[in-house]
Symmetry: C2
Subunit: 797 residues, 2 copies
């Protein structure tokens, strides 16, 4: 905080003396409650002088941001009430859990959600004690916090969450507090441009509030140290109109904040009226509030001779030794009493009338708005009957389709059926057409509020396909959209979905925690379609080849994660139908966009996907009288093709060998039943894979994942997995599988190497396979395309 | 490209007629070579009319960005030569591989690197054929590309790489082309603020060139569709002075580009003079060039009746059916001939004098600058002798130290020893002090070019600690620094290092590929210190708990990845010494910052770390005459403490049980020798872990990782792993291990459950352990701190 910038609020006075007193009382109450949560486990109302044993033994929490968040909560309450707004708030500096909990306790939503935490002295004592206490509530804004859709942990996603929440909610205001630390992150920096995708007609409004309190954990924040004109240029360059609130005198700041809020809401109302009534189509310049108040405002100014308020030392717990240091204890008591709690709470510890005067009613309270418990608002997604989209399969492995292209037709119908309801969106980093889902453009367009040129296609203000070359922004938008109860799908190049590894971590943690909170209604699943995958990055190469997202997701809480690898078009449709209807999961669907053989009819696909894994009888050579000699297992479209080509080779060259082909769609089925809800019991596993026969498993991703899923199975010592092992470049599809030893010839060699007691003929066949691989190598270097016998292969009939 | 924006270059003419002709010839030659690479496998010089068989069967590559990149390459050549500059360029739109390969072939560095690709007709033919051809070179700028330190795959990191390269290279100019697609990504958006960390005295200059060709894969780019004044506000808000080059007439654009380059370099020279000679300390406003030329400029204007040049259709291969469509073939030939190759190449296919006229000499060529092959410039890092920093250990498990704090003292000395050389940097997202490395501030400061206030500490323009709340920017800076041959360390909260999962993927791929390129000198390793780890996120909680980065890294090429989990202070020192000296790896070191028992003396630590895994004889109860009854294994500081506490309990309660304690520091040692260079042979594994005794393994991260590493071992069926299983919240350290069944009591119960034939006494002990866990649960909810018997435990002596 720059000293000379303090105490210079601008603009006319907006609050009457009474309103000012009410706002200030509410804010002081919230500050008192925030400090109480961080420090106290008894004597909540300071009825007696503070003693060490009233103070928690472990002091955890973040004071620095809390008074600023309390200011925002209080002033939002005022305008929501005055203007009868429908509003939620995203608390970017979510480390300030004490502030948001305080706000919810004051507005009564906390007690409504947790009846045990009453709005009186006993409840206040429990509110204080539970904070950051074992068995209590986390220190950050979290799923447990009423009114929140945004975990205050990892930073960077507040603004994209806010935009996601505002999409297709034309009557909703989404306020969004962005900390100056968070503002340095990449995801946040990118998400400012979300205003080029927000339609003032069909979408609600986002009001960013940039909280510049000057310091992060231990450093000044970059944006806080820009000269104000430079910061204004930046914000105007982001397409915003900045409104400044600066100061450290509470009354002056209340006036400035009230004025800025009124200005901002008037601007938003004018923008919406202009777009909705006057049908103006210019991209509007939305307001942003820049709030500069000291870090740890109203806390201790100085401790042990060094400044605290307004510095990084106020970030967490400004007084750290309260139990052992009598001076610190006195400072804490003085600090708490500085809010004059006796004016704020009555003799029963209930907030006095003045504190409650400017609260909105019922569901308009920030802690009780149903948009922040989006599952309450969710409607079933109208997924059309699959038989209209299924491809006919007279004979398996004869006709090719591009699976994602057919899926695009299904999604077109979902878009069509939700055209009025507007509760389904498709997001992706500029890859919807590349991923061959472009049929959706028959039903909707790509959202685009910026300039449109004659050469552009499929851009429109009301479009429900969202494309920006930022996986982070796509993910943030979709999360915000789902968390407020709507449906969606993220299509992404498989390799680059790792960009949002950390975001999906946080979302899965959110889902896992909300499952344990009965008051949280389940929200629609977060669905990924990973395509342009490792085996078919023909245009790109090694940098675009990474199938490890599945490994990442499967490390997370099993109750919330699902992974599917449909091997053809009809299984993709069956999978999509399932995941689009589901709730509360992260579903990862890996499927190719390149032409792929159709193996199963729709009916077969539905049955196969329902089982998640099964024997493809027609593809094997078992006679049914005994166990097979070998199992060829596969998961993923390209491995399935190679396994079937290998089965074909074995049938032709070693017709006496009893081969079983098993395909796995639902990867978690491989886990033991006690490890994952989809895990299969040992009896079922043994029936599919046998207990002692060699299993050659061709897997889409890193081969060791299959081992980590199956190591407890009886047959595991006989399992041999082929998969991607980081061998790649710009090359042909078949060369990719050869480089990684996943090709049909290698699989046949694996079978011959592992089945005991084969005839001499097998050694000859093995040599033929090795010769075919050698032929491939020389052919491809000369011709640059795959061997004709590979390119033209079909399943024999 | 906005039609009315074309043909409006500004500024006076900068090039003489001769210079213009030379620049244009070089640019046309590069364009010809780029098209040739995408399309031709024969008839490189068009000596005969183009026939289908001259064209590659698979057309792969990205034309859209190439002419713009060629323009930059050409104009950089001019100014490097004219001004005798030392410069490299980061090619953000690295999909334009054909352009950068063309530039390198023209300046001779390609032939110097790959003598087989001569600068004549035969070499040109090979250059064309190898591009995106099996066995050839990838379609993107890649490690194989001379002069490059930046893989053109995933987008977002060009600018942070450029800054990393410029740090501590005061005489270097790092040009950086940023595509308008890349500019939408979060990492790129954040990295603009890197100029607040670049010291004009000690660091070189970065010249960003924002390439606005209007379209991404299938969409307009956001920045290209901002009105120019809004874009200028944005760039000025980023702290830059924009210089515009706009047009589609080549000669006019050459003049404008030459003028802008001259302006920019004059500004840079003035800034550096002002800072270095006049000692001005104001933060300078660095230039940025905004280059607006059509996408696919000079390519086919229209194909099959739709516009191509200047639209997204020019993104990859503008003419897709050249082999089958005679019209396309004719268009391709006309396109190639439009560059007038006969004017550019002599009868032997060698570039004519005019093409070569404005090339810089020797190592000043962009393709030959040693900074882009940084290992050539690397000096050994002066790591001090460890005994000055080691903590004395008279008895194990008695005294506590904070391991990272002691490491900070070692790093202080490294900073001190490199104060003159300036080839070591520490980066981190505002966590250096939180991670307790603050001793480094005795030797250097945090780099900070923005405003400084009296309350700030340790900020300075020349500081070599880099802190910004952006893991992406930290990672990008460090990668750029390492790739140009210097040393560094990234300290990061363990959970949030997932933010750069995808970046580390790309870096590991780079390292893996360069290992196969003899001309690339090995660069210093990328070293991570992951601390504030899953078991000790006391202040935060569930959102901050994720130990999965190790799993992610271990999926990658084994030749390039190493993971260490030192269990105490001296082992951390030994590990740090090793990784700081190493080259060519990504080293992940996981170590706590909280007080941790010292177990090993420095000498023991050095021996233990050299072995990577070993028996801690003193901690077990083996008598040496037979195999132990059970092995207690551990990896990570907290699991090691719990295992030793469990060993202590077993010694006291079941003294007849022969317990072995094994500690693993180097996680890859668990892998089979054929799977990883550090993997141990089965004989060694069996000697440590036995072949058939129960092994209870307490592991720092997700338990299944240990299974995936060891599933091939004979003793694997007897291995039982405890680790983190996504159970967490804001709570005490011991409650965290209890929640995840990793605590000492649970480990003792595991032993009793798994060792056959134990006495009746064991059942009693088991119940005592269960009781202790119950006591923990009730105690902690009442007191909020851990049981005294846990908090006060030490290893008995």
């Amino acid at each position: 905080m720059h000293p000379e910038q303090l105490d210079t609020p601008r603009g006319p006075t907006a609050l009457s003396e009474q309103a000012l007193a009410e706002v200030d009382a509410q804010w002081r109450a919230a500050n008192y409650l925030a400090v109480g949560q961080i420090y106290l486990m008894a004597n909540a109302l300071l009825r007696e002088p503070l003693r060490p044993e009233h103070v928690k033994p472990r002091l955890l929490g973040h004071w620095g941001t809390s008074p600023g968040l309390n200011l925002v909560y209080t002033h939002l309450n005022r305008v929501i009430k005055d203007r009868d707004l429908n509003a939620i708030c995203i608390w970017g500096p979510g480390h300030g859990g004490p502030a948001v909990l305080a706000g919810s306790w004051i507005d009564g939503s906390y007690t409504q959600t947790y009846p045990d935490i009453t709005r009186d002295e006993a409840g206040m004592a429990r509110l204080f004690r539970q904070f950051s206490f074992p068995g209590g509530v986390p220190s950050h804004v979290a799923p447990e916090t009423p009114g929140s859709i945004h975990e205050g942990g990892e930073l960077g996603y507040s603004l994209s969450h806010a935009y996601g929440a505002a999409l297709d909610n034309p009557d909703l205001l989404v306020a969004c507090v962005i900390g100056d630390g968070e503002a340095e992150t990449g995801p946040l920096a990118a998400s400012w441009h979300s205003n080029k995708f927000l339609d003032p007609v069909h979408d609600g409004a986002v009001l960013p509030i940039l909280q510049l309190n000057g310091y992060k954990i231990a450093n000044p924040a970059v944006l806080a140290r820009l000269p104000e004109p430079e910061l204004d240029e930046l914000l105007r360059g982001y397409g915003h109109h900045p409104l400044h609130v600066t100061g450290n005198d509470p009354h002056a700041v209340h006036q400035a904040m009230a004025h800025a809020m009124d200005q901002a809401l008037d601007m938003i109302a004018a923008i919406q009226r202009s777009a909705r009534v006057e049908l103006v189509t210019d991209r509007p310049r939305w307001p942003v509030i820049v709030l500069r108040t000291p870090k740890g405002w109203t806390g201790p100014r100085e401790v042990d001779g060094v400044p605290v308020e307004g510095t990084w030392r106020a970030h967490q717990v400004p007084l750290a030794e309260v139990r052992d240091n009598a001076g610190h204890l006195r400072l804490l008591e003085a600090w708490l009493r500085s809010y004059r709690p006796e004016e704020l709470f009555d003799e029963h510890g209930r907030p006095r009338e003045q504190v409650l005067a400017c609260l909105p009613p019922g569901e308009h309270r920030l802690g009780a708005n149903p948009h922040a418990n989006g599952g309450l608002l969710t409607r079933e997604l109208p997924v059309p009957p699959l038989d209209e989209y299924a491809v006919p399969v007279d004979k398996p492995g004869t006709v090719l389709h591009e699976p994602t292209r057919i899926l695009g037709e299904l999604l077109e119908q979902v878009m069509e059926a939700t055209a009025g309801r507007r509760d389904f969106r498709l997001v992706g980093p500029d890859e919807t057409a590349s991923n061959r889902l472009q049929a959706v453009y028959k039903a909707t367009d790509k959202a685009w509020e910026a300039e449109v040129l004659p050469t552009d296609e499929h851009l429109a203000r009301g479009g429900r396909v969202m494309e920006i070359l930022s996986e982070h922004t796509c993910q943030g938008w979709l999360e915000g959209y789902l968390l407020t109860g709507r449906h969606g799908l993220f299509s992404c190049y498989e390799a680059f979905v790792h960009i949002i590894d950390s975001m999906v971590n946080q979302h899965i943690k959110w889902l896992r925690t909300t499952r344990r909170l009965p008051w949280r209604a389940p929200i629609p699943s977060l669905n990924y379609l990973l395509t342009s995958h490792v085996w078919r990055q023909d245009h790109n190469g090694f940098s675009h080849q990474d199938p490890g997202f599945v490994d990442h997701v499967l490390n997370k809480s099993p109750e919330a994660v699902r992974v599917y690898m449909p091997p053809d078009t009809n299984t993709l449709l069956a999978t999509a139908d399932h995941v689009l209807r589901s709730r509360g999961y992260v579903n990862v669907v890996v499927a190719g966009k390149q032409p792929c053989f159709d193996w199963l009819t729709l009916e077969e696909a539905l049955g196969h996907c329902a089982r998640g894994a099964g024997i493809w009888q027609w593809a094997g050579t078992e006679d049914g009288t005994r166990e097979p000699d070998v199992v060829l297992a596969c998961a993923g479209d390209v491995p399935t093709q190679e396994v079937l080509a290998a089965a074909d080779l074995l049938r032709r060259h070693l017709p006496d060998l009893a081969v079983r082909v098993v395909n796995v769609v639902d990867i978690a089925r491989l886990l033991p039943a006690e490890e994952h809800p989809h895990g299969m019991p040992d009896s079922e596993y043994d029936a599919l894979f046998t207990r002692d026969k060699p299993v050659i498993f061709a897997y889409h991703g890193y081969p060791w994942l299959i081992h980590r899923l199956t190591y407890r199975r009886t047959g595991h010592p006989h399992l041999h997995v082929r998969g991607y092992k980081e061998e790649g470049t710009t090359t042909t599809p078949f060369d990719m599988v050869v480089r990684n030893d996943l090709d049909r010839y290698r699989l046949v060699m694996d079978v011959i190497d592992r089945v005991p007691g084969l005839s001499v003929r097998a050694a000859v066949v093995r040599q033929q396979m090795a010769d075919a691989r050698a032929r491939h190598h020389s052919w491809i270097r000369e011709h640059g395309i795959d061997l004709p016998e590979v390119a033209n292969w079909t399943w024999p009939h």
